[in-house]
């Protein structure tokens, strides 16, 4: 129990630090990095629910992110509906789509499932590319209006975007945390560890995987809306791309799977790294930033295969003695 409490306190401190950071600097670039960091950390947390807890590897989360982005954008662009309402619609569509496409996919196990999610995301991307109503491959420039909370557009400062991202991030983390500590969290982890044992314990594995995917999709969609409003332009290659899906996977794996701190740590390392290398080295348009980024990923994978969290755990585990892992 004490350990739990300690962990909760840690979370409060982490939130506090994240919240304070952008106020310490008026550098717009830094604010930008913080916003992107929160968006990806949030996406990682959402992804972690189905993949980290439930063990069902999704390579297609860009689909939900993109649906969130497009839902609000289309509604605003065509009908002038507030992006907040659009966000809600995005959540609903994303949840429904995730349920429809995942249900058949859940019959597949392991890599077969992972590739199926990738296939689904690519199909959705293709549909958006060829769909005239949503402007296809051209993409949509979101009409710029006077800044207001209702229109989710801010032009004089990035801080409001940061605050919204922070809010969404907290909701996502707390949702993930709530799930982790509830029956659903235990069930998902049981499914991850052994499908058969889970069934024998009376767990309807398909149903819980479905729930996890739906929650994960809903949360991912909210960040899509925010991203669209922040960049004020979207096209299918930006939001539905495999790069987004893979970035989510990467940062969560980097941080450590199956734990709410994993994506947070992973994003805190990966996003500033990628954004700053882009800012300082990407200007040449030659991809130097991504060369370095790629090399760093390789290094981390080679030398800390358990993720950063694994590294931390190793230290703690040694002291506590209990978690000495034997493979026998």
């Amino acid at each position: 129990m004490d350990v739990k409490k300690l962990k909760f306190d840690a979370l409060v401190y982490i939130f506090a630090v994240i919240f304070i950071l952008p106020f310490l600097s008026s550098n717009a670039n830094f604010h930008h990095v913080m916003i992107i960091f929160l968006i990806y950390a949030g996406l990682g947390e959402a992804w972690n629910i189905i993949t980290g807890f439930g063990g069902q590897t999704s390579f297609g989360h860009a689909a939900f992110f993109g649906i969130g982005a497009y839902s609000s954008t289309i509604l605003f662009y065509k009908f002038g509906v507030s992006p907040w309402l659009g966000m809600l619609v995005g959540i609903i569509i994303s949840t429904v789509i995730s349920a429809i496409v995942s249900y058949p996919c859940f019959r597949l196990k392991g890599h077969y499932f992972a590739i199926a999610t990738l296939a689904v995301a690519e199909i959705i991307k293709q549909i958006f590319i060829s769909w005239d109503y949503v402007e296809g491959a051209t993409g949509i420039s979101i009409p710029i209006v006077e800044e207001s909370l209702a229109a989710m557009q801010f032009h004089s400062s990035k801080m409001p975007y940061f605050l919204i991202a922070f809010g969404l991030f907290i909701i996502t983390v707390l949702t993930a945390r709530y799930i982790e500590n509830s029956r659903m969290g235990y069930y998902l982890k049981a499914i991850r560890e052994s499908h058969e044992a889970a069934e024998a314990l009376g767990i309807n594995t398909t149903r819980y995987k479905l729930y996890a995917m739906m929650v994960s999709a809903a949360l991912s969609a909210t960040f899509g809306t925010l991203y669209a409003q922040y960049i004020l332009y979207i096209d299918p290659f930006m939001v539905f791309t495999m790069e987004v899906s893979m970035k989510i996977v990467l940062l969560s794996v980097l941080g450590g799977l199956g734990n709410i701190y994993g994506p947070l740590i992973g994003a805190a390392i990966l996003i500033p790294l990628s954004e700053y290398t882009r800012v300082y080295l990407g200007g040449t348009g030659k991809g130097v930033d991504l060369i370095i980024f790629g090399a760093l990923i390789i290094l981390v994978a080679c030398f800390e295969p358990n993720g950063i969290l694994g590294l931390l755990k190793k230290g703690v585990g040694k002291r506590r003695g209990l978690y000495a892992r034997t493979d026998a």
């Binding site: 590897t57 597949l108 890599h111 590739i115 893979m246 991504l290 790629g294 090399a295 994978a301």
Partner: protein, 284 residues
Amino acid sequence: MLLQVIFSGILVGFVYSLVAVGLTLIWGVMDVINFAHGDFLTISMYTVFWLYTLLKLDPLVSLPVATGLVFLLSFLTYKLIIKRVINAPGLTALLATFGLSLFIRNLAQYLWTPNYRFIPTSLVADKKLELAGVIIGMPQLVAAVGSIIMTVAVFYFLKYTKTGRAIQATSLDRDTAKLMGVNTEKIYALTFGISGACVGVAGALLATFFPIYPESGALYSLLAFVIVALGGFGNIAGALYGGVLIGLSEALGGYFLGTQFKYAVVFLIYLLVLQFKPKGLFGW
């Protein structure tokens, strides 16, 4: 016209098969998803391109050079990177290969710009074969035949040579193979090398009619993932048939629904087949 479409679908399908064979080998033998697979293909294409531009070598002549080079690079990839992550939990190996993919792709962009390059003249360029009203481009035909030869070669290598059998044994059961005296370390490195050689051949053949740019391999690796899963992970014959099936459905999908939907059709076929065969066409 339909016949034409079917034919070209099958031809390109054989190239897909070869790329997928390389991927499925690694997947089957060491359970690693190699995200950089397509980027090795890109390297092969660029090798052929530069040999053509600088030394006026015909792509078909420089094919062995490109294949050898990619074999070597893949071999080294195993020794330097994969070796360290192969026993790591979960998705770590994937992380490493994805990093490698980013690295290669962007290095290519840095060194050679994102521009499309072409090899305008070669032994096969602009030649056509007409058979009962169906026109077949020579480059495509040669690419298909070359891919078939390489696929069959790999197949026979695995089946009838001692090393090949050791690879298969390792794929079935790593620990037992080790106990039986198989040097799994060597087998892994070799498997990676052979996988590289597959895309080495495919890349050189594709370079005769396909634009060369830093991301040209990316599409192939995406399709190869689907083909590999369709055929069953680690199943060579599955990859062969899967490749043809995907080539065909891509061509037919493009013909009936418009080219923008051809990949959607491919992925849909995958999802449909796996509804009935959750472990791939040849899984049980």
